[in-house]
Symmetry: C2
DNA sequence: TATTGTTATACTCTATAACTATA
DNA sequence: TATAGTTATAGAGTATAACAATA
């Protein structure tokens, strides 16, 4: 409820609306920034027929051969039930394989196939390229700083 | 696909899974941080029976008396149809009013009621308090820096 | 023709709950 | 009793499309 102080009032060009209160809230700024970068992320993945969460699961499997579904759920902070449909899809596309775990007949060990690793590498490169283009105006240290701040927020509590 | 370099591998304490690739992506870090802060935001609003978007609309109406629904949609980057149900709810709770616009019989001018302003102020204070608690470990300049970076991302393109 | 508000509908994402088979 | 994986279902949240009234 303060007066806008962001120079957004251009005098006559058009009606200027104040978002002063909202723009003071990190939660609001985070949502808008997230929406913006998420759109870019989604676009980068579209050519690979991967959605954001599918990509994250594939990433974990590529980086951690023989990982279990429950570990993926824990790492990603999602429900176990949520991993099933993703793993089903990735397995159906022969990007990963479910294998038996010697000591535990309840669990499945997930490992990426050669095709899965190849697709993953190309998708990862595409995302990085998209982000590089999107965040073109940011210096390397600004990007590193932003990532560090975001990680600290996630790790809170 | 690099080896983790974040010291997350504690030797024996438990299985450490690598998220090195994902943690290099701003999009991934943003999503996790957003989820964390969004949960806090939602919790702060729960006592007021407000959801995030409802609060944002109320904020715009309080800060910009006689704003139109289409302006809200533009400012918030949402669909006009999305504003209708929110405005319906806020009006039904007597927090805002729809009024005629003298020059344009299609439009509605939205203005907050006394009750709406009062509720808004309390909700805003609660959110700020929640954020202050959540981001307790951040200095004021870190928070300002983070907000500035987030705004720059939103304004891209 | 374009815009404002509206309605109805559909879609995406995700969590919850209940179940089985193991441990 | 607890855990891994699974299935079915339900709920948010949101966009899309079509429409009437007005500009």
């Amino acid at each position: 409820m303060r007066v806008a102080e962001d120079g957004d009032i251009t005098g006559e060009a058009g009606p200027a609306f104040s978002q002063a209160d909202l723009l003071d809230l990190t939660g609001y700024n985070m949502k808008r920034a997230y929406m913006r970068i998420y759109a870019d992320f989604t676009e980068a993945l579209a050519g690979f027929d991967l959605r954001q969460r599918t990509f994250s699961v594939l990433s974990l499997v590529v980086e951690n051969p023989e990982i279990r579904q429950s570990d993926i759920a824990r790492e990603l902070g999602i429900e176990r039930s949520g991993t099933v449909v993703i793993v089903d899809e990735l397995e159906g596309r022969r990007l990963i394989r479910r294998a038996d775990v010697p000591g535990d007949r309840r669990a499945h060990a997930l490992t990426a196939t050669r095709d899965g690793i190849a697709l993953y590498r190309r998708a990862l490169a595409e995302i990085a390229a998209h982000e590089g283009r999107l965040m073109n105006g940011f210096t390397a240290s600004e990007r590193a700083l932003l990532n560090a701040l975001l990680r600290r927020i996630h790790e809170l509590n």
